[in-house]
Symmetry: C2
Subunit: 170 residues, 2 copies
């Protein structure tokens, strides 16, 4: 991804990079070595979070991209783009999310500094979630991806149909 800046001749340490052990997980998980290499080695280019074999930034990037891979995260960011929103407001808007997941996802976004959580000590309680500037900056790249998806959707659906058709009897 980024290393394109310094072109590489032949077989560059590819840059792929995603890996997400779990979406949000609390403290416990991060520290815990969920790892455990199995026997031998894992010649992975992205050896879990501490692999240390890629140009540094790529590794961490995976952690970040992981959040983007999460459908709820993206959705929430998009929804908050129009302004702050309350917990249940978000829940209603999204529609298919469970209270639990909404909470977890918001926590993750908050942890990453993408959204802020403001609690109003009123009765009943009120909590507002809003995008931080960092959160707003994420919109562009995400929308770029969204636009690509929309732009190529026809081609992809066509490819799918063709593929499914040709593999009919198999």
């Amino acid at each position: 991804m980024a290393r394109d800046q310094h072109t590489q001749p032949s077989r560059p340490p590819q840059g792929g990079t995603l890996m997400l052990p779990g979406t949000i997980q609390r403290e416990s998980d991060y520290a815990t070595g969920t790892t455990a290499e199995h026997k031998g080695h894992v010649p992975s280019m992205f050896d879990r979070r501490n692999g240390l074999d890629l140009p540094g930034d790529c590794r961490g990037a995976g952690t970040v991209l992981a959040r983007i891979g999460d459908k709820w995260s993206v959705l929430i960011v998009m929804l908050l783009a129009d302004g702050p929103m309350r917990f249940n407001e978000l829940k209603r808007k999204i529609g298919g999310i469970s209270q639990r997941m909404l909470t977890l996802t918001l926590r993750g976004l908050e942890r990453d500094g993408l959204v802020t959580r403001t609690v109003y000590a009123t009765i009943p309680p009120r909590v507002d979630y809003a995008l931080t500037s960092l959160g707003h900056s994420l919109r562009t790249p995400v929308e770029t991806l969204g636009l690509w998806a929309i732009a190529h959707l026809p081609a992809i659906e066509q490819a799918r149909q063709a593929f499914d058709l040709s593999s009919k009897g198999r």
Copy 2:
């Protein structure tokens, strides 16, 4: 890092990760309402499998983004960017992927018209995978995202530390 290579059956980067409805499923599967929107049909903006809420034609976008959310898909696309590659070559490069997942992912990418699969009837058999032009076009948006991730990684990690720190005693 907690690298307890011993104890615990431990799990590799079994990365569960995002939604991926099923990587390859066919259209018919969509109907499978695991989440039947019971009763008062939720006013969800994205009818179940749909992910984004971009205006209008975002219907199938979610399906497409699902593939991007898949860590293996992205990785493979990035790897193939440099040219065609054979099955085991990919497997080795990626390192942490199981044969099964590689096959499944490649099938999905092929189905979506992002990569081509060329079989050489030799002995032993040889199969080359290469990006289609569509696949190549995906690199840009993905890299955009990657660049964002890398660019904001410091800020995010900082936010994480701060967050984790403040929620210490909890």
